[in-house]
Amino acid sequence: MQELWQLTKLIRSKNAGPFELTFDIMFKDFDGFERVLDSDVLCAENIAQLYKIEISQVRFFRIDNLLAIKITIPRHIFSGDIEDTDIYGGQFHGPLVRLQIEVGPNPGKQRGYVSD
């Protein structure tokens, strides 16, 4: 097992305006990018479960030319509301950093994916 951060060069969360949160995950190489996408650990369903929202509220983008995944979700509690804990939304990525990713031969490669 490897942890997500070992495959990435950036994992961050940030407000996209006061009502949404957006996560940017940028990978070191294509291999790690593919591995994570194929593992299904980082997918709309798991994000919905982790952040306790409906799967239909998760916007999931795969950006191949940047080896990046972008995920945008609504904020349960809007930025600055009295229940809010993170005005900038800058720490919501915390639970993603150590997600366990299976190591081994890249399943994508086994299926004959090429790197561009």
């Binding site: 940030k14 407000n15 996209a16 305006g17 006061p18 009502f19 949404e20 957006t22 940017d24 940028m26 982790l50 952040y51 306790k52 916007r59 983008f61 950006i63 030319n65 940047l66 990046a68 972008k70 945008t72 609504p74 904020r75 349960h76 509690i77 809007f78 930025s79 600055g80 509301d81 009295i82 229940e83 809010d84 804990t85 993170d86 005005i87 900038y88 720490q91 919501f92 915390g94 639970p95």
Partner: protein
């Protein structure tokens, strides 16, 4: 129509600054205008609600002085958007006062345009009645009474009110709430640069040097726009842009990586090409601009929720920590009784939050980790009530109750909280909330934005 427009972004936020030599060099290399964003909603609803500008004032003045000095001597316009951090009327006035001071102190003479983006509540309520206001998703409820109860609203202008100011001959444009992109797209579009080029360049420029591969410190950014695309290059030789750094910046703070909704249309960057023009410059081409059928502007508003007082404490006793949840809920019920007895307030007339750092202080309900780790927690007791006086009065009741609340393992009076300060209570002032995430359909993009021009 001119062939090329060279745009300088002084920095990502007017209050954070830039290197003087970078701006001097950037303008000397030839520029058609200097832009600067001065605000954001990132830091929460306080600034919009209270009308307070975010300083430091001396820092903003230093940055404006350098921008005005360079631009005025080069004879090019200055465009500042979202003045004073939130772009309301008091924020605009705060910024204009600094500009006027600078003009007097330096014997500068120029035409100054101010664009007011604060929307009167009755005007907004009337727009709501006429069905011109629609919610984005997610959005708080915005009915007539919510509008009337709120503290302040602003509309986020697109490029047109800025273009109107430039066409009126303004050399310095200070705009209230303004799309970050519009600051940089207004003048190029006026000079015949295609919108897809101008808006994408605006998106890259709006954070100043943030699109560089490594932003060592806040600084300027420059882009040259033409009919086919734009080339972005940091004017500071110590910084460089790479195709990767510029493309990656397109992701920053936007919900959708390829589609940026702006007043008047949507910028589609899904087929944009980012190519190295040198080892420090990047050429961007291939974006599209899809005009919208109706013209809308985003509405932002803030409403007063109450007044906050807080107290900070540490908890180190492992026996308290292992029963922290029931412990705090006992404290809460004792507090409710005491507050009712002494202040005659029901528990729904104020709020007490125990923010437990070391458990879920950062993420609250969204925290997936449930088991306790660590030998201590930090506690912020957060009280919000209808007046500062009441919030401050509730604080000692909560802190004293928590301090001595018993646990079965210790017999005798105990003191559970380590308070670092005396007095423990800190008045944190008025608390606001964002009360609108809506758009307003306009016939005329300039209509709600009142412009005034003065000669200094």
């Amino acid at each position: 129509m001119i062939q090329k427009v060279r745009a300088i972004a002084a920095t990502g936020n007017l209050s954070t600054g830039f290197r003087e030599e970078t701006l001097v060099g950037a303008v000397k290399d030839g520029a058609h205008f200097v832009g600067c964003d001065a605000g954001t909603t990132d830091s929460g609803p306080f600034y919009l609600g209270s009308g307070q500008a975010r300083g430091p004032r001396e820092g903003v003045k230093r940055n404006l002085r350098l921008i005005l000095r360079e631009a005025l001597s080069a004879g090019i316009p200055v465009i500042v958007g979202t003045a004073g951090h939130a772009g309301g009327r008091p924020h605009l006035e705060w910024t204009l006062e600094i500009v006027r001071e600078l003009a007097t102190e330096n014997s500068w003479h120029f035409k100054l345009a101010a664009i007011d983006s604060e929307i009167e509540k009755d005007v907004l309520a009337e727009a709501l009645r006429k069905g011109e206001i629609s919610p984005l998703s997610p959005a708080p409820r915005l009915e007539r009474e919510d509008i009337l109860r709120a503290e302040r609203f602003v509309a986020m202008m697109g490029i047109e009110p800025i273009q109107r100011a430039l066409s009126a001959g303004a050399q310095v444009v200070i705009a209230g709430r303004c799309s970050d992109v519009a600051i940089y797209a207004a003048l190029p579009v006026l000079r015949g640069i295609p919108r897809e080029v101008a808006f994408h360049a605006g998106k890259i420029l709006e954070c100043g040097a943030a699109s560089a591969a490594q932003r060592l410190y806040p600084d300027c950014m420059a882009a040259e726009l033409d009919q086919g695309g734009f080339t972005v290059e940091p004017p500071n030789p110590a910084l460089r842009c790479t195709p990767q750094s510029v493309a990656a910046h397109t992701l920053y703070e936007s919900g959708d990586p390829h589609h940026l909704v702006e007043s008047g249309g949507m910028l589609d960057t899904s087929h944009a090409k980012f190519e190295a023009a040198s080892d420090r410059a990047v050429r961007v081409t291939g974006s599209r601009f899809v005009p919208s059928a109706t013209y809308t502007v985003r509405i932002e508003g803030a409403a007063l929720v109450g007044y906050r007082s807080i107290v900070i404490a540490g908890i180190r006793d492992p026996l308290v920590l292992r029963q922290l949840e029931p412990f705090l809920s006992t404290v809460r019920s004792v507090v409710e009784r005491k507050v009712e007895d002494s202040l005659k307030l029901r528990s729904d007339q104020y709020s007490v939050r125990f923010r437990v750092y070391g458990r879920n202080g950062s993420l609250g309900e969204a925290e997936p980790v449930t088991e306790q780790e660590g030998h201590e927690v930090g506690l912020v007791i957060d009280v919000v009530a209808s007046s500062q006086r009441l919030a401050a009065d509730i604080i000692p009741i909560v802190s004293h109750t928590g301090l001595h609340n018993p646990i079965p393992e210790h017999q005798g009076l105990i003191s559970n909280f380590a308070y670092p300060f005396s007095p423990g209570g800190i008045d944190a002032g008025p608390v606001y909330q964002f009360c609108a995430n809506h758009v307003w359909r306009l016939e005329d993009p300039c209509e709600p934005f009142k412009m005034s021009v003065e000669s200094l």
